[in-house]
């Protein structure tokens, strides 16, 4: 079958048929020509990569500029004098209590992730293992919450938390983050649990495990990648959350980094160098975590819509 794709005619070994390295099957000229084409693609790829990285390169360069330099007209691409102490000084600026903001982000993210996981794990396990009359409605409900976002419910959430007197607290944001990320966690872990044959669990019971033991020793190790994916994705979503925090957390010490950031941008004067330094700190860990779970993301986010 491969022979067809390696024929010299360019129309058959085209876009849709990524050529594999198989020197020797075609005639002598073809592999070299293909090699040149592949490196050509690399060049195009580099340009694409640059486009996607550009804003973050601007961010990186800006984070090391001095206040004068970043507001200089006309601007320079790179800092003339690399100001590493932006990363130190930003913690004590008058615009916002940044240490508190970082703490907020961390507490809200950890709390939201933990709560989402605790609620999602049993639901994911049970729906993957058992059939019951209300399973479809339940999964549908979960799916619909994925489609809803705090923005559309902002006024309702605001009113609810004011009535409960937990407005302007971390707890409010932990609840919001956990609830709106629950569905991804349920779906991804559900699909992992569903791949473990139920006989494996039954074998563990017959081997003398209690339900708890079979969960801890057999099921959890087997679905661990799914759990990690759920944890990381939820954590990142909480970390980046903006809209609900804006409405629900008016006090500056309670606000997360995403909201605090906007305080540096004034109508007349902006401390861009700090905005970018904070952004670097806000983005780097998240990108690293994200890269770890990339291959499971699509299936979880599209919840069965794409195989």
């Amino acid at each position: 079958m491969r022979e067809l794709a390696t024929e010299p005619s360019p129309s058959t070994s085209g876009v849709l048929d990524p050529p594999k390295t198989e020197a020797g099957t075609g005639n002598a000229a073809t592999p070299r020509k293909r090699d040149r084409k592949r490196w050509g693609l690399t060049v195009v790829g580099s340009v694409v990569a640059l486009v996607f990285l550009a804003p973050y390169l601007i961010m990186l360069s800006g984070a090391f500029k001095s206040r004068q330099e970043i507001l200089k007209v006309p601007p320079e691409y790179l800092p003339g004098d690399w100001k590493f102490d932006n990363f130190v000084n930003m913690w004590g600026t008058p615009e916002t209590p940044l240490p508190d903001n970082l703490l907020s982000t961390v507490v809200i993210s950890l709390g939201g992730t933990l709560l989402a996981l605790l609620a999602a794990l049993p639901a994911a396990y049970y729906t993957a293992r058992h059939s019951f009359r209300l399973k479809l409605p339940f999964m549908l409900l979960v799916l619909i919450t994925q489609m809803l976002q705090p923005t559309v419910l902002a006024s309702g959430l605001f009113r609810e938390f004011v009535s409960l007197e937990i407005n302007d607290t971390w707890l409010a944001m932990i609840l919001v983050n956990a609830a709106f990320n629950l569905s991804f966690a349920v779906w991804i872990m559900h699909s992992f649990f569903a791949t473990v044959p139920k006989e494996i669990e039954e074998a563990a019971w017959l081997d003398g495990c209690s339900r708890g033991q079979s969960m801890r020793r057999i099921m959890l190790p087997l679905v661990w990648p799914g759990i990690v994916t759920a944890i990381i994705f939820t954590f990142i979503a909480c970390w980046n959350e903006f809209a609900a925090s804006l409405i629900l957390l008016p006090t500056d010490t309670n606000q997360p980094l995403t909201v605090a950031l906007t305080r540096f941008i004034g109508q007349y004067e902006s401390a861009w160098q700090y905005v970018f330094a904070i952004s670097i700190i806000g983005i780097l860990p998240v990108v690293a975590l994200f890269a770890m779970i990339e291959k499971h993301l699509v299936s979880g986010l599209t919840a069965g819509g794409v195989k």
Binding site: M1, L4, A5, S11, V15, L16, P18, L41, T42, G45, V48, F52, P55, I58, M59, S61, K72, V73, P74, P75, Y77, A119, P122, A123, Y125, T127, K135, L136, M139, L140, V142, M147, T151, V152, L153, A154, S155, G156, E160, A179, L182, N240, F242, A243, L246, I247, L261, T262, V275, S279, I283, V286, L289, F290, V298, S299, T302, G304, G305, V306
Partner: protein, 287 residues
């Protein structure tokens, strides 16, 4: 009933933080609230009448349609091309995949803030770059007027939406069996013919999912417009979502904002309905 203890934590969370506030919002939209949140009683459809009577509403609605449809269409088109590209084998493909993740993972506020800085007419680096490569003659205040600010924000929305969309399309591309493509080439189909008659139809489910999830995300998006055009006075660059936030934050009109939110909510429910009908995501769940 055996299922209940297992599902209870999730149900409590969903009911408490999604369903209840949704109901509370609908309820609020029929109440008369003071600026300080004091409930002054039943308002009937007064809030809705007020929403539909607001002067900026026609502009805002037009903006919302342009914003959502424009961003999603451009995103999907670019993603189709990019996914096709990433589906080829070339040195550095893995690195490119990782790079494309960055705008997806990064906080949208942080990403759009860079553009606010870069597009500044005086110290903006993107402006300088555009002048340096000769695309524009002199720096332009992209974010100083509503039209160009709105279009710039749409470009950023496309920028942050393309990665996810590309990965979904790529996942779709990878489900197309190789022998189908070989069969097409045996049948004498050229590259373009193969794409339109074989690949594209098989991508449709992936595209439907990507499009609908994007519609929801873009429609609900607050941070991009808030950071990029938030400083422009008036409502010429507002969508219903940012308009609603302004009603809550600046004007403290929770009741009117709730009425507007209910309208938004209905729109989203319709989109979800279309999603369920077209994509049938539940087919893998056997009840």
């Amino acid at each position: 009933m055996q299922a209940l203890p297992w599902l209870l934590p999730a149900l409590v969370l969903i009911v408490g933080v999604v369903i209840f506030p949704a109901g509370y919002m609908v309820y609020t939209s029929f109440r008369d609230l003071s600026r300080f949140g004091k409930d002054r009683g039943w308002a009937g459809f007064e809030n809705y009448v007020r929403v539909f009577g607001l002067d900026p509403l026609p502009t805002v609605l037009t903006n919302t349609v342009v914003w959502t449809v424009g961003t999603v269409v451009v995103t999907v088109l670019l993603s189709l091309v990019l996914a096709q590209f990433l589906n080829k084998k070339f040195p550095g493909r893995k690195v490119l995949r990782m790079v494309i993740i960055v705008p997806w993972a990064a906080s949208v506020v942080m990403t759009s803030t860079v553009f606010v800085y870069g597009l500044d007419p005086f110290y903006g680096i993107i402006n300088k770059f555009l002048v340096d490569v000769g695309i524009i003659d002199e720096p332009y205040g992209f974010l100083k007027n509503a039209t160009s600010g709105f279009l710039s924000a749409m470009a950023v929305a496309v920028f942050v939406s393309v990665p996810f969309t590309t990965f979904v399309v790529l996942a779709g591309l990878q489900t197309i069996p190789h022998d189908v493509l070989e069969a097409a080439s045996i049948d004498g189909a050229g590259k373009v013919q193969t794409y339109w008659s074989v690949v594209f139809p098989m991508l449709r489910p992936a595209l439907a999912v990507a499009a609908i999830i994007n519609i929801i995300n873009v429609f609900n998006s607050l941070p991009i417009l808030k950071t990029m055009t938030g400083a422009i006075p008036g409502n010429d660059a507002d969508t219903t979502t940012t308009f609603m936030f302004k009603l809550i934050q600046n004007d403290r009109q929770i009741d009117t904002a709730s009425a507007l939110s209910v309208v938004n909510f209905v729109v989203i429910i319709v989109v979800i309905g279309v999603y369920l009908k077209v994509v049938k995501p539940m087919r893998e769940v056997n009840a």
